[in-house]
Amino acid sequence: MDVLEEITIILAEILDMEGLEITPETYLIRELGAESIDLLELSVAINSRFNIEVNDDELFLRTLRIHLRAAEMEGRDAAGYLAEKYPVLTVSRVGEILADMGGGPVLRMKDIISYITCYGKN
């Protein structure tokens, strides 16, 4: 079973949504309606299943806007700054996120998968 399938099963249980269809492009908050408590449960489940010490702020991109403000204050390039703060994200994903922020929370399934792939021990 790959990471996407495993997370889909975990999320279906947390969100109580049977037959949940998820792709790497699915937005967790915008589309699935995941709330803070659901994300907390997801984080606990990822910690347990993949043996990862999860940093919730990093996993769920919670501090994006704080980092963007900091980059602006320091006169830094936003994309470069975010790539430093989120080593899990590729340069192209950072660009995508910056272009997408006007539409609401940007967190997608592929960000969760990247995190697990990067930090997972098995």
Binding site: I37, L40, V44, N47
Partner: protein, 247 residues
């Protein structure tokens, strides 16, 4: 009333205080296995002296509020097994606000508030995996009624109450609840010395005309851990014989 505790494990923070030891004895009688924390050898000896005659149905481990390594070590030992948390832990700090040493102030809040928040986060996440858990925080009527020299104590207690209240608010629908108990005068622990000196004066302020006993507070805590008390969530209960109701 549902008081079935068989097979449950309770982490008792500040486990060497008199009240915690009375509670631990009541827990073992009720089928709960208490895991008591201590922060000094003296504390450990006190726990063993009181509980080992009861047949070794308990465990004890070092935990010093403010020492993050001691928390990591505690959780690696007991982490997966905690059903209940009863929190008696509280550092001493008496003094006027205008006279306090600043370094001690920072340290006190680090140990009693920030460290407690880390501990609650970690235990709550363990409980979330199991979908159940119950916290009982032992505060004091001093949290709600100001006394000269007790400002830091009250501030730390109120901050801790707020952490527990939010825990119950945030995780209640996931099966994890929290309640705070504010006892009044008890003839035990810190209260003992105070009541020795001011007993008569204090007694006049208590409408029931008596101080609380350790036994009745321990029984109340056991009740608060029971299924029957699960409705008490994200709130504070005062148990003081009416002390704080009057002026």
């Amino acid at each position: 009333m549902i008081l079935n505790f068989q097979g449950k494990k309770a982490l008792v923070l500040g486990g060497s205080c008199d009240l915690a030891l009375t509670l631990a004895a009541a827990m073992t009688a009720a089928g709960i296995f208490p895991l008591l924390t201590f922060r000094s050898e003296e504390g450990r000896e006190k726990i063993d002296a009181r509980l080992s005659p009861l047949g070794g149905k308990y465990d004890a481990a070092y935990l010093n509020f403010g020492d993050r390594d001691s928390l990591a070590s505690l959780l690696s030992r007991w982490g997966g097994e905690i059903d209940f948390v009863v929190d008696f832990a509280q550092g001493d700090f008496e003094g006027y606000i205008a006279a306090a040493d600043e370094g001690r102030v920072y340290q006190y809040f680090n140990d009693n508030v920030s460290f407690r928040a880390e501990l609650l986060k970690k235990i709550a996440r363990i409980m979330l995996k199991r979908g159940k858990g119950r916290f009982v925080f032992i505060s004091s009527v001093a949290a709600g009624r100001a006394n000269p020299g007790q400002g830091f104590y009250a501030a730390a207690k109120l901050a801790a109450e707020a952490l527990y209240r939010n825990l119950g608010l945030e995780l209640g629908r996931k099966g994890i609840t929290a309640v705070t108990l504010r006892p009044g005068y008890i003839r035990a622990g810190r209260g003992e010395a105070y009541l020795e000196a001011h007993g008569e004066e204090a007694l006049r302020l208590v409408p029931t005309g008596r101080f609380l006993t350790e036994g009745e507070v321990a029984e109340t805590i056991l009740f608060l851990l029971s299924e029957s008390a699960a409705g008490f969530n994200a709130t504070e209960l005062t148990m003081d014989g009416g002390l704080t109701a009057g002026k």
